[in-house]
Symmetry: C3
């Protein structure tokens, strides 16, 4: 629980991560944007629970990886396998993604996958992040993000892959691609996904400043499609799904592909280069040093 | 008048077209979006009346093909010839397009051009649809759509080719590219035109759900530029034209071309493939069966 | 002072420039959009004053070329040298651009650089306009436009190159790319910059009609980011700069480059063709004749 303790204390991180504190300065719940160090969970309990309603053909994926659904290699692997299974199940036409953890949808990429790891391992991790995006952004299913908590960085990206985003109207939550705040950069396909959603200028300013938006702000710029009271996020997602499933699948799928194919092709044809790029960046001494300082700071607060 | 009768009855179509009824569920006038079966009119009376005001250099094209200005091969041929004549007339600098039919601007592509026709004929029809788009989207004239009625599918596309869109502020009218509602897909150049007008995300959601917008909604997303009371649509179009004609033609034309050329070039260089694509889709047994069911249903209602 | 006198008189220009008067018809201060004929200033006094705050690393460039900071070859050369110096100064991280002239930020390109000049000289001038855009749009510094007056045509372009735009909330000021109003055309990279800022459709209508927007309208379409009372433009720019400089430079710079590189590359690889295009247009007899009429009209008003 070190992380949450640190967050309660609104710690200012030093070095690379020195901008961190600014995002918690408005009383929002900032659950470790971008990088998350969570307690290792050696149990084999699933990180994702999937409920399929056979009558409606709608699956709900509950992310339940404490404390903040950080995107570790294990989590992403399980996530991708779950999506693939549903994709191949002809009776499943819709997928709702939500969180079982309090106050957070997903806090983004797991810092432990990037610190002190071999280049090979880092590459494996990044390939899994790409895979999650590719699977979700090109899914034949109708995908709806039921965003019942904060959703920074990788969590925001996951939301952006969906066809529709419903967020809890709780001003303590935030959403955005805040990578630059920590000194790192959202890669081109994060940027492309954001641009397809909110346009070029909003993306430019959001990514350069690493902005985290309140639900109201996110709605205004089109980063999410709808706000509802926190206890109605999932039911609204289910009702919305019904509307989407009223459209003939085949026509909807071709249309979706037509809209999204250009940027999917861009990553597909640059996948290895993108991995190399990530690995060479994250294994830099300066970046590793910053991550170490961040982790030590977290340990101290835990003590 | 079968169609209008059917519409009054808010008929639910089965099979491929089963989503149809949903678009008339809010009390809007849904004049057979996408596909229209109209009474054959064997007279040679013109489907389009063109009035040119020599003093102002402005032409008004009144679409007068009962009952709903559906885009048949004959209609499109007459339309394209009219536009080409005006284009070559140096004294004509502006074109306003409007409807002489009550409650509808244009109901879109004529279903009879797609049912039981030879591939050759289908291809000829699709080439005419392309031609209408190419001529209008690249016109050197200032083009204004005076949208005095519902304008689904192909009717919406025709509006989108214009430089400016003025719509009657009647909540019973609707406008949008609703193809997916009927199980068919708006091709890439419909999609590109929509994206150039309302942006990527709005287009994605509009095309995937086949949304028809009320005038107020259409104004909000930028699908139309202005709403006026129904009896002022044409006069407002004329006044607006004066403003546009105050700009030196040459500079405006070069600017227009610069904005639109990329997607015009895309169709021009993929025209045959796009025709093949349409023909192979529309001549599929499953699609022909759906069209037959739709037509039989219309006949029954007529009886 | 001929120009301002002419403007006070809301002169209607004839021929090519006949649309000019329309832009001053709403009581706005229209300081010679696009083309400016200013009194020759033979002194060697600098046209730009640069103040660098060493503690914050922020430079302020005051444009002080009477009467309206028109973009002459001399001005652009001095401007580009100033920017380059700051760019190479590692201690300088931010740049604010503002005007020392009353009521105008910059009135755009200097007409005298285009009238009666040799093709070589015209080409040299256009290369300087390109250079200004390239340097600013790709600057590693945080760039903020403190727009304390009207900013038509080239002045608007200069503002659009910045990361953020703060404008004086004075309804007598205007901003926009109004080239078509004078019968000339904003080239593709003006268009691309505008599209990146306000989207495709808004750019289409703005450029085709050569629209000048009031501050309130400019804010609404996203042409500027913020309005403040006139006496707070510079202080707000300084405060905003602090927020931008809180982001690690390296991450922000990579992100900025990722957003802007596509259209920068487009000009870079078409630079000579773009110069040829400008020179062949501006040296046309018809254009030169229009410029002469415009200048004679200005002289008459001066007398």
């Amino acid at each position: 629980m070190a992380l949450r303790a640190a967050l309660r204390n609104k710690c200012g991180l030093s070095g690379l991560l020195s901008q961190w504190s600014s995002c918690s300065s408005h009383g929002r719940v900032c659950v470790s944007p971008v990088l998350v160090s969570q307690q290792r969970n050696n149990s084999t309990s699933p990180k994702i629970k999937v409920d399929v309603d056979q009558s409606s053909g709608v699956a709900v994926m509950h992310m339940q990886s404490p404390p903040v659904n950080s995107l570790s290699l294990d989590f992403l692997t399980e996530f991708c396998i779950s999506v693939e299974k549903l994709e191949m199940d002809k009776s499943c036409r819709g997928l709702i993604i939500t969180s079982s953890q309090p106050k957070v949808f997903s806090a983004g990429l797991d810092i432990m996958e990037m610190y002190g790891k071999s280049p090979e391992r880092c590459g494996e991790f990044w390939r899994a992040v790409q895979e999650m995006w590719l699977k979700m952004y090109s899914s034949n299913m109708v995908t709806i993000a039921a965003i019942n908590g904060s959703s920074p960085a990788g969590g925001c990206l996951m939301s952006l892959t969906c066809d529709y985003r419903i967020m809890a109207d709780n001003p303590r939550y935030s959403i955005g691609l805040n990578e630059t705040q920590l000194g790192i950069v959202a890669p081109f396909w994060f940027k492309d996904t954001m641009t397809n959603t909110v346009g070029h200028r909003t993306t430019e300013i959001a990514l350069e400043l690493g902005l985290l938006y309140s639900p109201a702000e996110a709605l205004k710029i089109g980063l999410v499609d709808q706000l509802v009271p926190e206890d109605q996020v999932l039911t609204t997602a289910t009702q919305t799904m019904t509307k989407w499933l009223a459209i003939p699948d085949h026509a909807r799928q071709i249309t979706k592909s037509m809209m999204r194919k250009p940027i999917i092709d861009k990553l597909t044809s640059n996948r290895e280069a993108d991995i190399q790029n990530f690995v060479s960046f994250i294994t830099k001494d300066s970046i590793q040093k910053s991550l170490r300082m961040y982790l030590e700071m977290l340990k101290k607060r835990k003590g």
